[in-house]
């Protein structure tokens, strides 16, 4: 039991710090694309501290507060089950399927909290967010199934060891290119970036779920964004890019995954919900299914 205490404390912190870096990178890349200077280095921290330092905190009921706790709790649990170089955490106790389900707990928590705010914009935002989840999770699951079929196990530690056994040649992306590419498109959807940002559409539904979030509630959502980018990046790296041999190489891969998505996002407009579903169920699903067929063939 004691050996885990270090993991419990450090893994979420590492995730938070890396997350801040990822958010900063995202805003800087957006600024550079718009020929702007971009925010200072500590801007994400300033935002979060300012939100937590708000003098008045508006709440819409006990469920609104509980959802914030579920949000942070869910992601902290997800971080603990994500193996990173140096810390294996509880990856042995719960495998990849458990991790995918634990990532749904914060989404459900957010949905319940926004629902209890009794704001129509929030409800429409959550309905679109859940529809988007349905859209991007199917190609993602096909990619994950294919990967697990190829590796023969769902224990994340073993998956990382299998990929590191033969160096970059035995990486998921190398052995299963189609699955990796399908997975990447799905992961782009999971991050809620521009083409698939229908549920935070500021112009239409006033930032959807975040409409009644203010002060420390909004701060928690900013933290969630950091955790979300980090978690998705690490899952993709673990599955297809050979996981973390050492920290610098691992961080480079995670930043690379998020960079691809962030670079793409600022060039696109926003898909409508049904266009998004049709796109997600056509291209990434098709590619992933082809990859799955290949995996099942041999």
């Amino acid at each position: 039991m004691m050996s885990y205490v270090a993991d419990f404390i450090f893994m979420p912190l590492i995730a938070f710090v890396t997350g801040l870096g990822l958010v900063l990178m995202a805003r800087r890349v957006r600024a550079k694309i718009e020929r702007r200077v971009g925010p200072p280095v500590l801007q994400p921290i300033y935002d979060i501290v300012k939100l937590y330092a708000k003098k008045t905190q508006i709440s819409h009921g006990i469920m609104h507060d509980l959802s914030i706790m579920m949000l942070l709790g869910g992601f902290i649990t997800a971080e603990i089950f994500l193996p990173v170089p140096g810390f294996d955490g509880l990856a042995g106790e719960g495998d990849l399927i458990t991790l995918i389900y634990i990532m749904m707990v914060p989404m459900l928590g957010l949905a319940l909290g926004v629902g209890s705010c009794a704001n129509p914009n929030g409800s429409i935002g959550i309905s679109r967010a859940l529809t988007a989840m349905l859209a991007y999770d199917i190609p993602f699951i096909i990619a994950v199934t294919g990967a697990c079929m190829a590796y023969g196990t769902t224990n994340l530690i073993e998956i990382v060891q299998i990929q590191q056994a033969g160096g970059p040649a035995s990486w998921g992306a190398a052995t299963m290119p189609l699955l990796a590419f399908g997975g990447l498109l799905a992961v782009h959807g999971m991050m809620g970036k521009e083409p698939f940002e229908i549920y935070i559409a500021p112009a239409e539904i006033a930032t959807g779920p975040m409409v009644e979030m203010s002060g420390k509630y909004m701060g928690a959502l900013f933290i969630m964004q950091c955790f979300q980018l980090y978690t998705i990046g690490v899952i993709y790296t673990t599955l297809f890019l050979g996981g973390g041999e050492n920290w610098p190489f691992f961080l480079a891969k995670v930043f690379a995954v998020v960079f691809i998505s962030v670079a793409v996002t600022n060039v696109y407009g926003r898909f409508k919900t049904d266009t998004m579903i049709r796109w997600m169920w056509k291209w990434p699903t098709g590619i992933a299914l082809a990859g799955l067929a290949l995996v099942m063939a041999n």
Partner: protein, 248 residues
């Protein structure tokens, strides 16, 4: 009619309001750090009330890029810190402005763009526009000019950041401390039955900003009429008149 107010010279310099009792070093350090962060992360509410809204895009996009200093636009009053009143305010728009102001989370700051918010501007003699913004909601800073250029907007934001850093931008406390005065002016304009869904007095009580100016003659009117309970809707709720019928 509303009683005439004595002429007030410039806003006196209010030194940073000391919280109740002597505070420990820890809270002072934390407050100092909080003010530091508040100054560097400001969310501007996209509230384009008048003709000045066109000045905002250049200040935020690549030419003047306010994100360098941490200012970024936000959609709803809940998440915003700065409320920009860009130009003239008709009486109907002022109702929405007051509603949005009260929905904002304090510490919140109001910046009045252009002379319309200072003294009426070119609509000074119109029956439909409001002449002085700071009578109805506490305005921290004004920018003179009949629509100031983005450089002026940039300067006012930097000035606001200095005030926040120094802990001086406390207009929002004034709204709590002297709510009765503000409410009196508002009721003078909109009528006795005027009230917003936000219960400012309860909020002030909750966070300890009750001063002698908070409750008064006008708030008694408010408490009599406004029923924040859910089932009763006051008859003459703004724009909720019975004759609101669509053309056949």
């Amino acid at each position: 009619m509303s009683d005439k107010l004595p002429v007030i010279e410039d806003q006196p310099e209010i030194c940073r309001s000391v919280d109740a009792g002597e505070r420990s070093v820890w809270t002072r350090v934390m407050n100092r750090f909080a003010d530091h962060c508040r100054a560097r992360s400001l969310f501007v509410l996209h509230y384009c009330t008048g003709c000045g809204a066109i000045e905002l895009p250049p200040t935020i996009t690549s030419r003047f890029d306010m994100e360098r200093v941490g200012v970024s636009p936000m959609v709803t009053p809940r998440q915003a810190d700065i409320l920009l009143i860009t130009g003239y305010l008709s009486i109907k728009t002022l109702k929405r402005v007051i509603l949005s102001y009260e929905q904002m989370q304090s510490p919140k700051y109001v910046i009045g763009f252009g002379s319309c918010t200072i003294n009426g501007g070119m609509y000074w003699n119109s029956y439909a526009t409001v002449k002085r913004l700071d009578q109805y909601i506490p305005a921290d800073l004004f920018i003179a000019g009949c629509m100031p250029r983005p450089e002026a907007v940039q300067q006012v934001l930097l000035k606001l950041m200095e005030d926040i850093d120094a802990g001086k931008a406390n207009g929002w406390q004034d709204y709590y401390n002297n709510y009765d005065r503000y409410l009196g002016n508002q009721q003078a304009l909109f009528g006795e039955s005027w009230h917003t869904p936000t219960d400012v007095i309860a909020e002030a009580k909750h966070y300890g900003y009750l001063a002698d100016g908070t409750m008064g003659r006008h708030t008694d009117l408010l408490l009599k009429r406004a029923d924040y309970a859910l089932d009763r809707v006051p008859e003459d709720y703004p724009e909720r008149g019975k004759n609101e019928r669509r053309l056949p």
